[in-house]
Amino acid sequence: MHAMAAIVRVIGALNAVIGRVMSWLALGIVIACFTVVVQRYLFGVSYLWLRDLYIWLNGAMFTGVAGFALARGDHVRVDIFYRPASVRRKAVIDLFGVLVFLLPFMVVVVVYSWPFVTRSWSYWEGSSNVGGMPGLFVLKSFIIVFSVLVALQGIAMALRAVLVLADREHLLPEHLRYPPNVAAAVHTPGETGQEGTL
């Protein structure tokens, strides 16, 4: 049980670090895209690689932070029944979901993307645009990075569920436990980490 709790902690910390660092790509997208706009409209020049850059930054960002978003509970749920459920019930649902939905999905993505990514590495594939960015293989690799990070976070979710079902949730630090079921705080975007739907 202690080993399980340790794994949950390590995976949580890993995704938190990666997620927080990769979130800054959002600022990178803003700066790169704004630079392209300024160059184009004020100076009449454009560099295709810079255009590729901000597009690719988005691809890397949303795949890279997906595991972190899962850990924070940002991935939307249909929570009509989930929200009011007891912690044990939530644990059962999470355990089932990870084993039956999440892990098979990630396995399928890795299996079918592997040849696609390795082929790209084999000839150091770059942008298809003339004058574009080199290193499309790096972006493609993020499909694998995404699957691995989300699968790891899924495993952490499943282990946490097992700890709850074995009445050992106290082995986890506060921030990794299920958030308390406060009736009033049903759906407060921003406060629970859930930023809300768009």
Binding site: A26, V30, C33, M61, D74, F81
Partner: protein
């Protein structure tokens, strides 16, 4: 059993299976993919699905990851979150309510106007409803507003972000519809089709968005005239009134100019949505900095919120891709095509059926999930029936916005319940929204009967 029939049966079972499993409450993106994989496995065993088709997954994924149009999504989210976290949205609301406070119904009107402005700067529905619920709801209740009117106007105005450009839902829809439209026109032998862009969808959504703003405002004014007790004036004390002009110049004008510049450059065809969005994001940072509200902490919160919200939406798209592959290859597309083209009444009946289906799905799913599931399987048929893609996109937008508002599962109502004081009964929120839902239906019927409201600007 006939294999074609079996495949069609499995694909429809899968659709309902997904709805059922989603009710468990496991994150939507993974449930969508997981259930589709289970049905794919079943279909494989029964000989109606070939798993090698998943080989197209990485191509689809890298397509989303290197899509220029969709970069507008994180950029607009960045802009909206920055305006919210730096307190600019809050300031806007406070100033606007002082400006209109002297009027009966003034606070309500200010909510409608600020809702429209925040919507025009991205409109994260959850955040908008919460901001207004935290600031305007207590103010209105203190002023003696009828709680039904107060909560109704906040929920409705908070969802305007779904439809008023630059709505992120419309960005995804525009990107999907432009691809589907090109393909459909090609199949019809039209090799030089008029392209549809996100910008077109934004332009088409402008008048319908303003129509809704007008309807909400008219309702508040109507209440102010016929039922003055429901929305009393809140006179601004004279010592505050002297500084009001300055406050308007500081709090109201700069964000308004930013929003107009961003939207104007898209609608005027000067810049693409992505380019304009980056200007909006930089502009929001400049506004925050000018107010000394820019700090490392605010910036960190903004990038983390932007990255995680963006990720959440795109990963649903990843999950929905698995659904699309399995559904299409098991023959679900043919089934949808057969059903939609065999309806009496032709294209318009098909449109009504699809709209009703989306509306019902809107009770449990939010807009992104619905469009990612429903648009790829129904839009090809509808567009082949000569329905205008811009009109389709905007109708879907208004429709889904409405389903955010309908009890018992409207998302906007949940968000507001979360921040409303406990003394306010939930029934007030549910009853308060009724007149606004009626206004929504009026708007939908108007857009249905007079598609020109949508098409005049982009096609004119």
């Amino acid at each position: 059993m006939d294999l074609v029939l079996l495949g069609e049966l499995l694909s429809s079972l899968m659709f309902f299976g997904i709805i059922g499993f989603l009710m468990l409450g496991f994150p939507v993106a993974f449930t969508l993919a997981g259930v589709s994989l289970l049905f794919g496995l079943l279909g494989w065993g029964l000989g109606v699905f070939d798993p090698s088709n998943f080989g197209s997954l990485p191509n689809r994924y890298i397509g989303f990851m290197s899509n220029e149009v969709l970069v507008a999504v994180p950029l607009f989210i960045f802009m909206g979150v920055m305006l919210e976290k730096s307190g600019i949205a809050e300031q806007l609301l406070l100033t606007m309510s002082k400006l209109f406070g002297n009027l009966r119904g003034g606070l309500g009107l200010s909510v409608v106007l600020v809702g429209a402005m925040l919507a025009a700067s991205t409109g994260v529905v959850g955040a908008t409803v919460v901001t207004m619920g935290l600031i305007s709801l207590p103010a209105m209740l203190r002023a003696g507003y009828d709680p039904k009117l107060a909560t109704g106007v906040i929920s409705a105005s908070g969802t305007l972000g779904q439809i008023i450009p630059p709505s992120t839902v419309l960005i995804f829809m525009g990107d999907m519809l432009s691809g589907i439209n090109a393909q459909v026109q090609m199949e019809k032998g039209n090799f030089a089709p008029v392209p549809v862009s996100v910008g077109d969808l934004f332009t088409g959504a402008l008048l319908p968005g303003l129509l809704l703003v007008g309807l909400y405002a008219s309702y508040v004014i109507f209440k102010a005239i016929t039922d003055p007790a429901s929305c009393p004036a809140t006179p601004v004390p004279p010592e505050e009134r002297s500084g009001l002009l300055r406050e308007v110049a500081v709090a109201l004008i700069p964000p308004l100019l930013l929003i107009l510049a961003v939207l104007g450059s898209i609608l005027g065809g000067i810049a693409t949505p992505t380019e304009a969005a980056s200007v909006g994001a930089v502009g929001a940072m400049v506004l925050a900095a000018l107010r000394w509200r820019m700090s490392f902490s605010i910036l960190t919160q903004t990038v983390v919120a932007t990255a995680t919200i963006t990720s959440m939406v795109f990963i649903i798209l990843f999950g929905a891709s698995v659904f699309s592959i399995v559904f299409r290859l098991m023959g679900g597309d043919n089934l949808v095509h057969a059903v939609l083209t065999s309806l009496p009444g032709g294209a318009m009946t098909a449109m009504v059926v699809v709209m009703l289906m989306m509306f019902v799905l809107g009770f449990i799913l939010d807009s992104f999930e619905i469009i990612f599931i429903v648009i790829p399987i129904t839009a090809p048929v509808l567009l082949a029936l000569d329905i205008d893609p811009i009109w389709l996109g905007v109708m879907v937008g208004v429709n889904l916005q409405t389903s955010f508002l309908t009890p018992p599962f409207g998302f906007a109502l949940f968000y507001l319940r979360g921040v409303a004081p406990d003394s306010l009964p939930t029934s007030a929120i549910y009853r308060g929204i009724i007149p606004f839902v009626i206004l929504q239906f009026i708007a939908i019927i108007l857009l249905f009967v007079f598609p020109q409201i949508v098409l005049w600007l982009p096609r004119g």
